[in-house]
């Protein structure tokens, strides 16, 4: 049993039936064997993708509902000054954005495993794992 910290890409992939990680992301969100948590940033990123990339403002409510269910499970980590300071260090160290590094810092602070669909900046650098890695 473990707590997994999901970034916005996992929740978005679960709602996008065309995403190559849709099935694994969906399976993870309904997995009863793990505790799920996220970062407050995920709310903004998920809503932003729904409105700006998907042109689907109606998708915002179910996305935020999913994030609220995660909040009621393992919780939503707040972006505190300390977390962003650590994220800034990680961003510099791994040459990634502070946004991505904030998820890494949030996972690190409570020894959670970060789960992401971001191969280029997170999974390839061993800072996160794909959803299919942690689903049964």
């Amino acid at each position: 049993m473990s707590t997994l910290l999901l970034d916005a890409s996992v929740v978005l992939a679960a709602f996008d039936s065309e995403d190559k990680r849709h099935d694994a992301a969906h399976a993870l969100l309904v997995d009863r064997a793990v505790t799920l948590a996220t970062l407050d940033l995920a709310r903004y990123e998920a809503a932003n993708v729904a409105v700006r990339a998907w042109s689907a403002p109606d998708a915002v409510a179910p996305l935020l509902a999913a994030l609220e269910r995660i909040a009621g499970d393992g919780g939503v980590v707040p972006s505190t000054q300390a977390l962003l300071a650590r994220a800034s260090e990680l961003a510099e160290e791994h040459t990634i954005s502070v946004y991505d590094a904030a998820y890494v810092a949030a996972a690190e602070e409570a020894e959670r495993v970060l789960v992401s669909c971001d191969e280029r900046d997170l999974v390839s650098k061993r800072l996160a794992v794909f959803p299919e890695t942690v689903t049964k």
Binding site: S9, D16, S17, L29, V30, A53, P62, S97, C117
Partner: protein, 73 residues
Amino acid sequence: MAKVMVSMPEALLAEVDAEARRIGSTRSAVLRGFADEALRRRRGDRAAAMRTVLREASPHGGNAAEQVKATRP
């Protein structure tokens, strides 16, 4: 197994001990069982609710990770 110190009201501890006696177990085992059951129920509630909201899934072109990056300010 890790050992921890837990503070709790005496009345609650008395109930835990009574439960331990009732099932012929230990205080530690009862507390472990309660914690496990609470977390299991919480995960189950999330999973069930998630099945409902995920019915809203539809095609959006894929590549969620890149879409997140592309729409950041």
